[in-house]
Amino acid sequence: MTQNCPTRTLLAETLQQELPLRQATHPHLDCEVTFRYGGFVGSVIECHAELPRAMDHARSHIARIEGESGSVPNGMVILADTMSRSKGRFTRSWHAPAGGVWGCLVHANTLLDLSKRFVPLAVGVACCEAVHAVGGDKATLRWVNDVLFGEKKVAGFLVEGFSGPRYSDEYHMVGFGINVNNRTFPEELSGSATSLVHELGREFDLTRFTTLFLAKLAWNFGLLYYEEATYLENGSYSGQDGMHQLLANWRNLSDTIGQRVVFGFDVMTSPQYEATVIGVDPDGGLRLRFDDGAVVVEHSGEIRYR
């Protein structure tokens, strides 16, 4: 018996509720078209009581399906109540006990390079929006896609590319870990991690929260395709001053701009320098100013606030 088990029916109902909300906040977009673009999210939802790691499970699944000359459903979501070998970037561990949302989305990539770079933003924005929707309106995004309460991380994401072993189709494994009802953390994470139950003082229906997150994910992935089509047609995006709408939404949820930060490709083990964030470029690059006034733009790496 799994604790976290969203269904296609539940997701469809939630998407119906999302449409008028998006129409109210994005009157300049064709929201029905955007949701149709993102309709692949949750095309299949697999729920497990326990998995070692969802992304490894997804890779094995793709290899098996392709080995049988089959086609992997785009938008497949793999969830597990607990994961025993979950990990963050590089060699970092990720604690995934009962009570959290742990899993991955299999995205069969058909985006152009100019849109692919926004995939990590899409999953971060989706999660932050879901957290806001359940009352966590103090949650913010830290570049690229960490969701924080204050300086503590409530959710983290990994996007890994993968080529199908037989047909070489390109996939994104969009891994997500959201601390919802889990209350305790290993000692090494206790100062830097938090959960919704801890921040908001109540437990959540895990299945409903995950469904809401998937609905937000459908909108944000839909935006990637909608904005790509808009750009190809008009030479600019739909946001103010031609900004990518997803990036505009990211900026509204983020408190990164203006922060004094430490930057590093792997900032935990190899911090490189300290600077002040002065903006985010149209392609998502982080614009940083050194104390001597020089400016750099980083497209890869991570930051920690000072």
């Binding site: 995939v119 990590p120 080529s163 490709f265 020089a294 497209h299 890869s300």
Partner: protein, 217 residues
């Protein structure tokens, strides 16, 4: 990779003209205004993080959106197209050339790039070796690592999206590594130079010969 290399011809070429000529092109359409003249010495970006821009070469203005373009390499300005100053140009129009004086190390690298198989960056991003390759490099050194067509050798990292990069090319050892972890590599620039194992002595001979010839100067 040819095993017959005319050392005298290659070395003669670099001795008679030890420069690299880098064309500076318009980054996009717009009206250009030059900031340098023929014969000016220009500097490359500097600072620990390359955060100090190079010498300003020209300003390009499109729809009241001016952009200053700086030198990416040090050298001397030549063949500047003065007739284009203040004019509207198309993207990719050649504006000037920078004559960059080559150091011995750069000459060796340039010769090696002619004889190694160069595996290019698929996208402008940061790269690091795949964990398996990295651990083998740490144990034995890159030149002991043989890679084959289809091997996962690198991870490309862009905006926290990590994508495995599979080697496409002839079997060989990783002779030269052109990227640094944490430093962005432009699309198309070489990431590694690969050499067939039986050609390694030849490569070593090239390096020794260049060092000897230049030291003898």
């Amino acid at each position: 990779m040819s095993s017959k290399i005319d050392f005298d011809e290659i070395l003669g070429k670099y001795k008679s003209d030890p420069y690299n000529y880098v064309d500076v092109l318009a980054v996009h359409t717009g009206r250009v205004e030059f900031k340098v003249v023929d014969g000016d010495d220009v500097q490359a970006p500097s600072g620990e993080w390359q955060q100090i821009p190079g010498t300003r070469l020209y300003e390009i203005n499109r729809e009241r959106n001016p952009k200053l373009i700086s030198a990416q390499i040090n050298g001397t300005v030549m063949d500047i197209r003065t007739e284009l100053d203040g004019q509207f140009v198309e993207a990719g129009e050649k504006l000037m050339t920078i004559r960059h004086p080559l150091k011995k190390k750069e000459i060796i690298e340039a010769i090696l790039k002619e004889v190694l198989y160069l595996f290019p960056a698929p996208e402008t991003a940061k790269y690091f070796f795949a964990l398996d390759i990295q651990s083998r490099i740490e144990k034995k050194g890159a030149r002991e690592i043989t890679i084959d067509n289809g091997d996962e050798i690198l991870t490309m990292s862009l905006m926290k999206r990590d994508t495995p990069v599979y080697y496409k090319g002839e079997r060989g050892v990783i002779h030269s590594v052109y990227f640094k972890p944490g430093v962005s590599v432009p699309q198309g620039e070489p990431l590694i130079g690969v050499c067939a194992p039986d050609k390694l002595p030849l490569i070593q001979k090239i390096i020794t010969r260049v060092k000897a010839d230049w030291d003898a100067e």
